[in-house]
Symmetry: D2
Subunit: 455 residues, 4 copies
């Protein structure tokens, strides 16, 4: 999971600053590293480093990055190790000038592509997919009239998920993979500037009006002549990631026309239909369980209450307690609101259970605060399979649901009851008509692509 942002700006736009603000609204998609590349009439400068947007960029630094075109990236490492060299944008010089690439997603045929390129003499300086994509574009560009034509020829060679922004000397080109795993949309500002972003929540704050999502397989080109689209690789049924709706995306985003917030409310309602509970209060684990908790409350009529106070100051620099004080860590991040739960029967909503250890601690905390019963409801199906498309999931043996029954999990976490959504709840959450239009491989094991056995 990563976030990308780009702007093809009008006459008085400071593109690097707008990208800085855009990346703030996408920071939830990645906190490991970030970067911005700006194109000042063909002269590209960039800065990228480990850390949050607010840590990596200073006012002075942005001052030194004038120009009307920019792309930016926030990174949550999935492929490539956690080193500064792997931060994006990737900025390269090639036969036709410079390219700056930002990438959200995960290719599944990197080993094959990398070996093929290496046997032709390619050298690699990073371990990120963007470098492979850059090579492929560079090679095709020598045989193509334009960079977008080259990109168009590269798409069939790529397997896996990718939402890309490619900044050439005069254009910003947005690309979404033919199955549309990862989101990508664009909007325009009053002065005609075109803004691309992983999520629509990054458009509002910079003053851009949402236009539409980039379609799966579509290439959208923004330059001084306006916006054009190439749809050669379009037409496949979407396999957008269902987990964007359940957890990744911000609730104020709309992805492929669907409100993330409404999807989560709906998940809470469906959860009540499947797993009602006789209880006094509904509470949600902040932040991702809150919306489904409101939905569960609306459907059930059981009052919604605040159950926790979350400490927003716990960040990257937080010093973990030593072994014998380990419980301090959860307690500082999340304290139970005893005034709320004491003497009550509680429905507790969260978006997923991965290992189960955090949920066990939370249930214990609620009971220690005086709750009589804790009925856990999870607003997604059981999490049992790895993801090859960019979602960071531990190996199957660490997923409690791949080795335990729901009853066993319920016992392990100390809950009084436990319920998950069903696989077919998902199609109702995002109102698929006809064929399944999303990827639920992490719940179903049904992988849409050609995943090699040896991955």
């Amino acid at each position: 999971m990563c976030g990308i942002f780009g702007i093809m700006g009008g006459s008085d736009v400071h593109a690097a600053r707008m990208t800085y603000y855009g990346l703030f609204s996408l920071q939830h998609r990645g906190q490991e590293s970030c970067g911005i590349a700006v194109n000042n009439d063909g002269d590209v400068t960039y800065h990228k480093d480990m850390g949050l947007v607010g840590e990596v960029f200073s006012d002075t630094m942005l001052d030194r990055m004038p120009g009307k075109m920019a792309v930016g990236h926030v990174r949550y490492s999935t492929t490539g190790s956690s080193v500064r060299e792997n931060a994006q944008p990737l900025v390269i010089k090639y036969v036709k000038g410079s390219l700056s690439i930002v990438h959200n997603g995960n290719l599944t045929n990197t080993d094959f592509l990398r070996k093929q390129l290496e046997s032709g003499g390619a050298i690699f300086q990073t371990t990120i997919d963007s470098e492979i994509i850059a090579y492929l574009i560079a090679k095709e560009r020598t045989l193509s009239a334009t960079v977008e034509e080259a990109i168009c020829k590269v798409i069939p060679k790529l397997e896996g998920s990718y939402s890309l922004l490619v900044m050439s000397p005069k254009k910003i080109i947005a690309v979404r993979d033919p199955l549309g795993y990862r989101p990508l949309c664009y909007g325009v500002m009053d002065d005609g500037s075109v803004v691309f972003a992983s999520e629509s929540c990054a458009l509002d704050p910079v003053g851009a009006r949402f236009i539409r999502d980039v379609d799966p397989g579509e290439i959208v080109i923004a330059d001084r002549h306006g916006i054009r689209s190439i749809r050669t690789n379009c037409g496949m049924i979407s396999r957008k990631c269902i987990f964007e709706y359940i957890y990744f995306a911000r609730p104020d985003s709309f992805i492929d026309g669907i409100s993330v917030y409404r999807t989560r409310l709906e998940a809470g309602k469906l959860l009540y239909d499947l797993h009602p509970a006789d209880a006094d209060l509904v509470i949600g684990v902040p932040d991702s369980g809150i919306d489904a908790a409101l939905g569960y409350s609306q459907a059930s009529g059981i009052p919604y209450c605040k159950g926790f106070v979350k400490n927003n100051y716990v960040g990257r620099t937080f010093i973990q307690p030593t072994q014998n004080r380990r419980e301090i860590s959860v307690g500082i991040k999340l304290n139970v609101l005893a005034a709320s739960v004491k003497g009550k029967r509680i429905v507790l909503i969260d978006d997923s259970i991965v290992r189960g250890t955090t949920m066990a601690r939370i249930v214990r905390m609620i009971k220690e605060a005086g709750a009589l019963e804790v009925h856990v409801r999870i607003s997604s199906p059981t999490f049992r399979w790895p993801c090859y498309y960019g979602t960071d999931i531990p190996s199957a043996d660490q997923l409690t649901a791949s080795t335990n029954s729901v009853d066993q999990i319920c016992t392990n976490i100390g809950a009084d009851s436990l319920g998950f959504l069903e696989l077919d709840s998902l199609s109702r959450m995002i109102s698929c008509e006809g064929e399944k239009c999303y990827c639920d491989a992490c719940f179903s094991g049904d992988h849409p692509g050609n995943i090699k056995q040896d991955i």
Copy 2:
């Protein structure tokens, strides 16, 4: 407003680390600077600097601070300018060894005390009240048998608000001013360690069981013999700060026996009784308006919904947009959840209106997101007077309520209706029996102390 924490630890306690965790839970009370002093069998070391707890302290630094006694502080500057020298704890050497002092509150007779001390040859290296208190204790100590006796004699000389922790070579002494403006409580850990904190929310995460609040005027002494109390200065009717309940304190804290969260819920209910509204949804401004919004929803039966997404990554390093992009700033910190408010009549709850400019922007954002009506409800009375006891309030001419009627404010912020709590709602919020037991000077102008005209 500041936060203080102290620990008189048992045999295997690393007091600096426990204080580090305690300060994390009090960080909402002050983000400007912080510090910890630790007493290792009489040898005092300390570290303090500008910044958040997570920024100022590293693992290595805590390693270098062994010892079983510690006091810590987070600062929100009210008196004294924003310089490193004004960070606390104040650590001094005096005739009887060392004292480390942390202080939450604001003395109102500092000018008098400072001049009196200077005429006796005192020199001041900071502009914080703690240095005055240190001098007074040092002077009395030469005539007293113990440091607590000296402190007892100092109390009648101090006017204003103060919750103090004083760490001497062998004791930690907690002091709360006779009117009890600022909170202070203590708890014990399983190993017998005694923990003092501004708010009870800092006790749970470090594994301490809440015992009780320090009473107004009380001196509580913790040393290796246990806990003792001096009540010479007790007995006045409390004038605890009502704004702690409305805004300052964390909802999971209990202050003087009353749940902050329940007080806010109750404020929402009282607000509905005074100012009902015909609407579809109740939303609250994060974080401080959320609890009252739940209360308003419960009383009115109007559904509570999430109205905003708050960006938790906007911190001290956030670069403010330039003048012509000013609206970006609010939009990045707080985005309206259009999927929630569009086409709806909204009740919007916040805890207070100070200048009115932020509220005007929020109302506009909600309307631009498609809300039909916005009825603003404020869970406190109109804010009209300055505070001399440590609350950071702009001068009266900047308080919109001191120069405008409620109707004018309503027009100014662009709301469809506007309602505040009444002054006498406050006594119901915190269930005073008989005489008024709190300070509401910022709403009423009724100052409990002898405030000089010229302040």
Copy 3:
């Protein structure tokens, strides 16, 4: 050993910047911490921290320190531990406004003064002598007409060495102790600005013309009326530190009218008279042995040659090699110039031998580079006693000369011969007329003051 600098500037002087440059020229007197306080029409701001001048101050920081009066300090810790709080200037508020104090030297009656002040209720926040001096001035000031009068009364209470600059709201007052241990001089700039500095080498670069040394016991006051002098405490025979000439001061400084460089040349000549050698080359250990080596060469006619290359990049951050590679450290800092010494009989000059271990390594390196003989000559007498006036000397049992004869030292360091200056050489180096006008306690044990046995 520390360095102090002050400026009472003319109309267009940026005093903090001039002090910044002045401190650069005094950096050799202390590398632990530094600071500058600036007085902008009575409003004092200051900045101080651990580190070199170039590390502690940035352009932005100096921009924020406008004003025409400033004092600055570089610190080499002798009293007080190495913590940020002990950095100077010490800036205080007292009954008559503010004082900023910088101090070079070491009081010998601090324990007595500190206890006396504490029994009157004083509190101490640092362990530096300047805080004691500030208290004494503050107390006397309540009984005196002016701050200089107060300082005049304080001088008889202070024992030990001190060169001080005291910046009051309208004056800079320079004070040198009655025995004149530590240097202090002043100069004027073309625009009439008055500049005080520990050494004259700091005057030239800022464009100030050297006027004269402050006399032992003298108080020099610079304010907008010009320069005045109080000589009440003058008249004692100087006991200026001989080690300033031998090692501390920069060779381009003149102290009390005597060129430091010429003194060192002379030491080399005297050394040849006492200890001639039959050799091919004279070399000096950089940087302090070079000047005496030139003098030895001139007196002897033996050619002077460069013997070493010193690595100027080895600074505070240099990572010491692990135990089994310890010899790397000296080799990186100082490499022998084999092309110079190979096959030659060498006279090697250094300013002193303390423990003897470094000299042993240097002699070995020279021999390994092919030198036939190494005759060590030291441009000072044997170092046998501690210093109570601010020179950092290890305890007597670590001084090789206090437990070993010259012959034994010669054997220990592996030299072919070894010679030191005699005690009475010193008076010829600095041309004393009549009575001894310097302190040579570290060589002679003859302490000029009332040093208590128990120090």
Copy 4:
């Protein structure tokens, strides 16, 4: 100009630490950026950044870089702009694993090579020559049995100067261009570790015994079997850079068997033969003029004296004075020793005159300090041509000697007389036998390679 260092270590060597120490001794060759790559049984980690070795590397960081093979680099930017991405080593993955490359020198056919590679689909992420070399090796490697064979084939394609270290998974391979412009040598440690370095001065401190220089055109391979050599590209007459002897290299280094220090002494002697002076003292501009000043003194019999005190604390962070105080800058870096020069006729030696402005200030300073005459002598011929092989020289129109006669320069700098070495002095300095064995293009315009007109 850059410095390179590499180690193929024995069993208990921490290669990164040894490289850290080696780079300290080469820091004079480049202060802009530095880096180390370490190979731990095939697993390569690296760290590089802007700044000095002591700033970029911490103890913790070195701890995280275990392994017995390493290469390191200090950079003085000549090609490529001053950005972090251009720091070396360049670490790449290619068809046969990883390569880490460090490079000192400057290719003269980069434009041609870069375009050729780009037309084959290559992408470039830096602007340094090393990336071109890496591509060429990667391409040849697919057709070669070993990496050294590939390198051997690459050499004929490279024009210009290069001393390289290439670290493959199991070998360190040293390469020096066929004309031997830049130095490169190796030594061995007692445990058999092989150490490569730009200059021999980096061998002594790490405990390595100098073995020999790498010959022009030679490839030296160090692996666990020992040391081998490939001499296919050897045999051309050396064109080693004369400026290494005059200025770049450290005086304690031997380059191609010749002592740098002796060369400079000799230059001073030759200078006296050509331009004697009637004077009282010879002084040198630190650090590069000192050695020739000693030579001039020895030849002339005029005594050598110290003429300046150089401030070693002036580093990268030094804040330049504002325009109207510009003279402060030189004065702080270099102060004249008035006690030495006053009333004397001075011979002043420096290694070169580039723009002439600094020399003009120095002459003025000496006269203001009281010198009667200043006779400037320069230990190299007049500097009139650009360099294409890695020496940082301003454009010809900024070289005072390319537009002014010696007499005019003498007038411009305010000297009483001025003399340079002659072109044919150079061959005597480094004792060429027969044909010219060095490059003096910056003095003569006689470029040894095929330099394109358009550079």
